[in-house]
Symmetry: C2
Subunit: 219 residues, 2 copies
């Protein structure tokens, strides 16, 4: 019975997500949905991403958390449009939250929409936000076994970012094994390594975004 209700909630979400996807397509907005544990560095990655972009880039961001406007404040410093979604107790973003948050924005002014999900490696996996792709991020402090223990998100995501590689000398993390674990769950998945404190890998990540965007929204 619980499964039935979850399926109903998800199917209502799916309908809203279809509407969002159509809006994104019509307005040529490329949308990515970033998913990770709390504290893996989603906000830091987006900070470095915004710093690396020209000020004329047509980029906007939605950032989800149970509470606080902290992340929106951090991201707003770069000068691009940002909105915080505070979910209260809810463990994931859903399509209705994204729809409401987009409310006043003119999507025609946006080329890339980054959605930073609530920190949670499980629940956001099931919720379509109308995005072109989900991206999973985990950090070298979390252990190389995470893809095996949380396979759903690694199976569905199109890119895996391994973050905080500057900490590799100080933690027991086998990078080759981590990548092998990613590929055990998702053969051939692209992996980008980043450090947000040492600003490494950001260009690789931006290049991936540009390639994926060109596929999603052909000229």
């Amino acid at each position: 019975m619980r499964v039935d209700v979850e399926e109903k909630v998800l199917s209502e979400n799916d309908k809203l997500a279809v509407g969002l996807r159509e809006r994104f397509a019509a307005q040529r907005v490329f949308c990515v949905n970033l998913i990770s544990s709390p504290g893996s560095g989603k906000t830091a990655l987006l900070e470095r991403t915004l710093e690396a972009l020209p000020r004329t880039a047509r980029v906007a961001l939605l950032t989800g958390d149970l509470q606080t406007e902290n992340d929106a404040r951090r991201l707003a410093r770069a000068g691009f449009p940002v909105k915080q979604i505070t979910t209260g107790g809810t463990c994931h973003l859903d399509a209705s939250m994204v729809g409401r948050a987009l409310g006043e924005w003119n999507l025609a002014d946006i080329d890339i929409l980054f959605v930073e999900n609530v920190g949670n490696l499980v629940c956001p996996t099931s919720y379509d936000l109308g995005e072109h792709c989900k991206i999973v991020l985990f950090s070298v402090t979390e252990g190389e076994d995470k893809p095996l223990k949380y396979p759903s998100i690694f199976a569905i995501a199109e890119l895996c970012i391994i973050n905080k590689v500057d900490l590799l000398p100080y933690v027991p993390f086998d990078l080759d094994q981590a990548i092998a674990n990613v590929h055990q769950v998702h053969p051939g998945m692209e992996v980008v390594q980043t450090s947000c404190t040492q600003v490494r890998g950001i260009q690789d990540w931006l290049a991936w975004i540009e390639r994926r965007r060109a596929t999603a929204i052909p000229v």
Copy 2:
């Protein structure tokens, strides 16, 4: 309508949790429920805990994950009874899973039952497992803002463990601010600092367990 169903699921869980709590009380089992993000170090903390205990300690463990028996394998090395609960896709442990996992064990042989929840700082908060207390753990690599962003678990837990303090020299983490954030959400909450790679703080944590157990199960 969704809220109603969630309340129904939770109230069914609560009934089962009451049954577990009565069994624990009758058999004088002290039960703690460890909750954190994926990769904060719950399993490593339990490994160091088991190593610090005498081989005669009457301790048992349940460890939850979406997939893999990895954690049970790691914990079994110390020689104490361990059972893995793999939830499939479910983002938390519930009382029925704990009841089933306890199935064959004679609770009269157990003084302390450690339950390591699925790595998730949100959903496990709502599920009573019949435990005496929830304990929240986060690591210095996750950022000092976690108590403010995920206040539910910090409000309900009785102890906060700040783990991986050996990495403090390498990460931008303000320990005083982190503790202030814990106390903003939960005034007076006890905080223990640990490092599982350098085996620091384990005796503080064990001392807390013994004190709390003495309150829960008076001689």
